[in-house]
């Protein structure tokens, strides 16, 4: 036989494939699942962001710069001043209002444009009416196709838009181009000003500059002249601001998907490691027959790559299908509520498809790298003998890489976010997890050595086996630890979050009844007269109006909510869920402002600090008097006293009002009285704290539904890896079982021995997994979540759930071990002893 004829691939892989078909299929499936999840999340995110940016691009058109400010707008006299500047070729004024539709038909982004000026910059906003004058008529509205579909209206129909609480009737004069995305309505700028109380105010000016203008220099010069609270920026800044809120959420989903891929890689590792162990003598024989180390290593890694490629290809197809299904069921934000009114279209993205394909292959290659190098490095002589399997895995037990990873992980958890993303937090989790897995053989050996030696022979043998050969068990342990720690950390994080939201809801809903015109739109509000009527309803003891506006503090961040309600500066904790201490402004100090946690993270506000907020076109001084928790507004919120707000803006309307009732007054009766007390009262939303709590928690659960699903997938892959590696291990020990049978052990005893082994390995894995999971949950809560969403939360460990999880895992591992043992102890176990030579 000539060595030249022996191809490593044919000899090594062909045989392995025949012997290990089932496990290979599992490995491929695990990679496929990881790639599918990652690609699906990417597709959905990209579709949503594409749609959002297309919408913003239509609204921005091809403006060079845009001047933006608070949601309440700014004085229109700025428009001619900017338009007349010599660098400006065309200036297009826009009034944007988030309009609430009458009859509970939802919301509409309403744009008032000057068609003559918007036309050249934003052609997508110009509709075609029944005649050319419809674009100017005050009763005409043009709807985007998405808006018309959502409302079920067509040209000629009427829609009612709330102004205050009463509807303004508009005629659908036509539709915007089918290419104009989003839920938009467009009217003449004068009509929007007139009919929605915006006379004298605009919210945006889009600028096209003369060719040759230095855009950056002009931007800086204009910015210096703008009133406080206004920014001039390139349109891309709007997109950044619009997507910044959802960015951390999207990245989190991507990371979860990568975790699934990581566990898939782990499964490839366990499969390949055991395959190498099983084929040790074959591989050694090949080396003896002249196959070079390098060729052997390349072949074994090639196996991994092939598994990865097959899995990744399957994963891409499955990922697209998954994305399509998820979008149709949950919507493009996967239920999180980030992309309201966005109707995404999935597109195949060659770039990200290629990236996820490569990630899938890389995970599999990395998984097979260590076993391949180990096999190639082995001395052929000793390897040809039986009983050398243990040595193969010995190298994996070196403690230093694991300890280094741990140190790196702990250090990374103290680092700040990178461009708003908790990248070091993710790195910390990855380091802690991988470090632990790498350290597992040592940890397992120490744990098992400390365990008392059982009396019964099967138990004693099992423990001896584990102590003597911790390397083999470490593969199973890695799978268990990875699965358990991820599951536990996510469970603790979500439980902490949910409990914190629950506690928070208790504190922010102290009243008996909540009456709301609209919190998120501009056109619906309660007038001072409405507020007086509500306060006078019999049974109402006290009423507390709330005004919500939005101000802009940075060009590339989303607007900050400016809230105003009556707050007693001496006792703010009664009306706000404060976190930590508060200060009472001294006489002569500016009025107090209570800010939310994101304001601290994003804008660096500190308690006691003097700040200035752009309100009604000028900088108004405040003292940061306290920090409160707000899970409702991720972009940050500032609460000021209602009287201060009214004095600054002259705006005494309210978005909502909280009512405290007399003892014995019926909330139902008061609700009916509220609807009847004010004109247009039928358009008010009236809810009890209980109803609001239920809605809020269901929104929370919907947001985390996808998180749960991804987590479950990762855990599933981990468990599959666990059972697969266990059965592989057991199969590899057929000779040992044969010897034990020769020595007189019964099948039953061997079964018991395997069950104890399974139990012991799982118990160690579970204990370590719980500890690491707890540690990772701290990173999730205090680093990843805080840096992503700027929300603080208290730690709540769901003990019952974790206990159940542990019990299931232990039982599963024990049963897997038993089942594999049964499978391994066929009739030829006794004969397997002869395999030794």
């Amino acid at each position: 036989m000539s060595a030249a004829r022996i191809t490593p691939w044919g000899a090594v892989t062909g045989g392995a494939l025949r012997a290990n078909g089932g496990r290979l299929v599992l490995s491929v499936a695990a990679i496929a699942l990881g790639v599918a999840l990652g690609y699906a999340v990417q597709l959905i995110n990209q579709a949503a962001v594409n749609e959002l940016s297309a919408g913003l691009a239509t609204v921005a058109g091809d403006a060079d710069l845009e001047v933006r400010g608070p949601r309440a707008g700014f004085d229109e006299s700025l428009f001619p001043a900017v338009a007349a500047r010599p660098e400006v070729a065309l200036a297009s004024p826009v009034v944007e209002v988030d309009a609430k539709l009458a009859g509970d038909r939802g919301e509409l982004a309403l744009l008032g444009i000057d068609v003559f000026r918007a036309g050249p910059i934003q052609p997508g906003l110009v509709g075609e009416g029944e005649d050319g004058l419809d674009v100017l008529r005050p009763d005409a509205i043009f709807l985007s196709v998405a808006a018309a579909d959502a409302l079920g209206v067509k040209r000629g129909d009427r829609v009612g838009v709330l102004a205050g609480l009463e509807p303004v009737e508009l005629r659908v004069a036509g539709l915007l181009s089918a290419r104009t995305p989003g839920r938009l309505g467009v009217m003449d700028i004068a009509a929007v000003q007139d009919r929605f109380g915006r006379v004298g105010r605009i919210t945006r000016i889009d600028l096209r500059l003369r060719p040759g203008t230095d855009v950056a220099a002009f931007r800086a010069a204009l910015q210096a002249e703008l009133p406080p609270g206004l920014v001039v920026a390139r349109p891309e800044a709007s997109l950044r601001a619009a997507t910044s809120l959802s960015r951390a959420y999207r990245v989190n989903l991507n990371v979860l998907a990568l975790v699934a891929l990581f566990t898939g890689g782990l499964l490839v590792f366990s499969t390949q490691a055991l395959a190498v162990v099983r084929r040790r003598t074959q591989l050694a024989l090949l080396r003896v027959l002249g196959v070079k180390r390098r060729a052997l290593a390349v072949t074994l890694v090639g196996e991994g790559a092939a598994i990865g490629a097959a899995g990744a290809a399957l994963g891409l197809v499955a990922g697209y299908a998954l994305a399509a299904a998820a979008v149709s069921i949950f919507g493009s934000d996967l239920g999180a509520g980030y992309f309201r009114g966005v109707t995404p279209r999935l597109g195949v993205e060659p770039g990200s498809a290629a990236a996820f394909f490569l990630l899938g292959v890389a995970a599999a290659v990395l998984g097979s790298l260590a076993p391949a190098l180990e096999a190639a490095r082995a001395q052929p002589g000793p390897a040809l003998k039986a009983g050398d399997e243990q040595r193969a895995l010995a190298r994996l037990a070196t403690p230093w890489p694991g300890l280094a990873l741990w140190a790196a992980g702990l250090a990374a958890s103290f680092l700040p976010p990178v461009r708003g993303l908790p990248l070091f937090g993710y790195a910390a989790i990855a380091c802690l997890l991988v470090g632990t897995i790498v350290l597992m053989p040592r940890v397992a050996h120490a744990a098992l050595s400390a365990a008392p030696r059982p009396r019964a022979v099967p138990g004693a043998l099992a423990l001896d086996q584990l102590r003597g050969a911790p390397g083999q068990a470490s593969v199973s342990l890695a799978a268990i630890v990875a699965a358990v720690s991820l599951m536990v950390s996510m469970a603790i994080m979500v439980a902490s979050f949910r409990q914190s939201v629950d506690d928070w809801l208790d504190r922010v809903l102290p009243a008996d009844l909540y009456v709301r015109a609209s919190m998120t739109t501009d056109t619906a509000f309660l007038s001072p007269a409405d507020l007086e009527r509500l306060a006078a309803i019999p049974g109402v003891r006290r009423s507390e109006p709330l005004r919500a506006q939005r101000i802009l503090l940075a060009a590339d961040r989303a607007g900050v909510a400016l809230l105003a309600k009556p707050v007693d500066p001496a006792d703010p904790a009664r009306q706000l869920p404060l976190v930590g201490a508060f200060v009472v402004p001294k006489p002569g100090d500016p009025p107090p402002a209570w800010v939310t946690e994101p304001m601290v993270d994003l804008y660096g506000y500190r308690i006691g600090e003097r700040i200035e907020l752009p309100i009604a076109g000028r900088m108004a001084p405040f003292v940061v008097a306290g920090v409160w928790r707000d899970y409702a507004r991720q972009q940050g919120a500032v609460m000021i006293q209602r009287e201060v707000f009214v004095a600054l803006t002259g705006d005494a309307n309210a978005n909502a009002v909280a009512l405290w009732l007399d003892p014995g007054a019926s909330p139902d009766a008061v609700s009916r009285a509220v609807a009847a007390a004010v004109p247009g009262g039928g358009n008010l939303e009236i809810a009890t704290p209980g109803e609001i709590r239920d809605i809020s928690l269901s929104v929370f659960d919907r947001t985390f539904a996808v998180t749960y699903a991804l987590e479950a997938a990762a855990v599933l892959i981990g468990l599959v890896g666990l059972s697969s590696s266990f059965s592989a291990l057991v199969l590899a020990r057929r000779r040992e079982f044969g010897v034990l049978r020769h020595l007189g052990m019964t099948r039953r005893q061997i079964g018991a021995m395997l069950a104890v082994e399974g139990f012991a390995v799982s118990a160690v894995g579970l204990a370590v997994g719980l500890a690491i999971g707890w540690l990772i949950s701290l990173v999730l809560i205090h680093v990843v979540n805080r840096q992503s969403f700027h929300w603080g939360m208290e730690l709540h460990v769901p003990w019952a759930g974790l206990a159940a999880l542990g019990a299931v895992l232990l039982a599963l591992a024990t049963l897997t071990a038993l089942a594999s043992g049964r499978q391994a102890m066929g009739a030829d176990v006794v004969r397997a002893v002869k395999e030794d030579w």
Partner: protein, 371 residues
């Protein structure tokens, strides 16, 4: 991306044709307005025109324009045709609005440069709502502007500045003759119904001086121009399809304006004009005194529209042949007033000899006016 895709829906109805033809725009406007009857426009009745007040804007009327056309020559002897037009329109919507953006008054502008060496017309257009001092038509004297395009009367001299896409004009127009009142002392009938009329006067023989820029060069020019100022509320009969109009500065110092309104069938619905002889005697031309006979046609390679670019014209005692400076003086203004028309510099010939220079407008050949 031009203004076309954007603005054309706006203006189709306001549209139709500029200048005399722009009267017909009001016709198109009438249809939607008749439904809502959003505003009552003052009727045009014979009255004495008062200057300088009537040089200014008449915002209560539906439409109005200031229309300058002329021939200029640079110091190398090259001839150019120039056109500067400002339109004002009261669409009759949002009259009650409290907003400073209320589109009570709309302004449009066209500018064109005919250069035989370029071969076809250069033209550009603007459209705005009046307001904020950025676009306005002043009352009391001629002073109209859209951003940095403007035309105004400074003392006795009209001046204009136009920075168009591919050319620029900075010109002054000095009157050399008295105002020429059209029709019955400025009351100009456009049809058999006396309500179909406009206030209309002309300033022929304006001495032009200034610069024009194109292809990166600016040249000094001098020449002769004609200004029309016309405003009205009511319109033509429903079956009108378009207009042929001509205004000629005659070489002997005389001035001729002649027009006809064509029916959809092609026959002449109404015609008229004014001839002021060199000596100053003014003769009003009745419908029977004016006849336009097409002499040569030219088809636009862009729109496929065929225009009679040369005419045999009988106007009272005058028999003239009108020959264009260049054939291609088509003006595609679908992007502003929503139509395509031909507005070009022409020579007036009698017995083969040039006896005057002026401008010819051909409208309604692209599409009949919409009613």
């Amino acid at each position: 991306m031009g203004m076309r895709s954007v603005l054309s829906p706006v203006f189709c109805p306001l549209s139709s044709e500029p200048r005399r033809a722009f009267l017909a725009a009001a016709l198109a406007l009438l249809a939607p307005l008749a439904r809502a009857r959003e505003v009552a426009y003052p009727a045009v009745r014979p009255r004495e025109l008062v200057f300088p007040r009537d040089h200014g804007s008449h915002p209560e009327y539906r439409t109005e324009w200031w229309y300058v056309t002329g021939w200029v020559r640079d110091d190398r002897g090259n001839d150019f045709g120039i056109q500067v037009t400002f339109f004002r329109n009261r669409p009759g919507v949002a009259e009650e609005s409290a907003s400073a953006f209320a589109p009570r008054e709309l302004l449009f502008a066209h500018a064109a440069l005919a250069d035989p060496r370029h071969g076809r017309l250069r033209h550009d257009q603007r459209a705005r709502r009046a307001g904020f001092g950025l676009a306005q038509a002043a009352q009391g004297t001629t002073d109209v502007r859209i951003d940095d395009w403007w035309l105004r009367l400074e003392g006795d001299v009209y001046r204009t500045s136009i920075a168009a896409r591919d050319f620029s004009l900075a010109l002054s127009f000095r009157p050399t003759q008295p105002i020429l009142l059209q029709g019955e002392r400025g009351y100009s009938r456009k049809g058999p119904d006396p309500a179909q009329a406009s206030y209309y006067y002309s300033r022929p023989h304006l001495a032009v001086e200034g610069t024009l820029g194109a292809d990166g060069r600016t040249v000094r020019v001098t020449g002769k121009a004609w200004l029309d100022h016309e405003w009205s509320s009511e319109v033509l009969s429903a079956d009108a399809a378009g207009w042929d109009w001509v205004g000629v500065n005659l070489a002997d110092g005389g001035a001729l304006m002649a027009f006809r309104i064509r029916a959809r069938s092609g026959e002449t619905l109404w015609a008229g004009g004014t001839l002021r002889e060199a000596g100053g005697r003014v003769r009003a031309l009745a419908p029977g005194d004016v006849a336009f006979r097409p002499a040569r046609h030219w088809r636009s390679p862009r729109t496929g529209v065929e225009y009679p670019v040369a005419f045999a014209l009988r106007a009272g005692t005058l028999d003239l042949v009108l020959e264009p400076l260049i054939d291609d003086q088509e003006l595609d203004s679908r992007a502003s007033v929503g139509t395509v028309y031909w507005e070009g510099a022409v020579r007036a010939l009698a017995a083969g000899r040039e006896v005057g220079r002026g401008y010819l407008e051909l409208s309604g050949y692209w599409r009949p006016l919409r009613i």
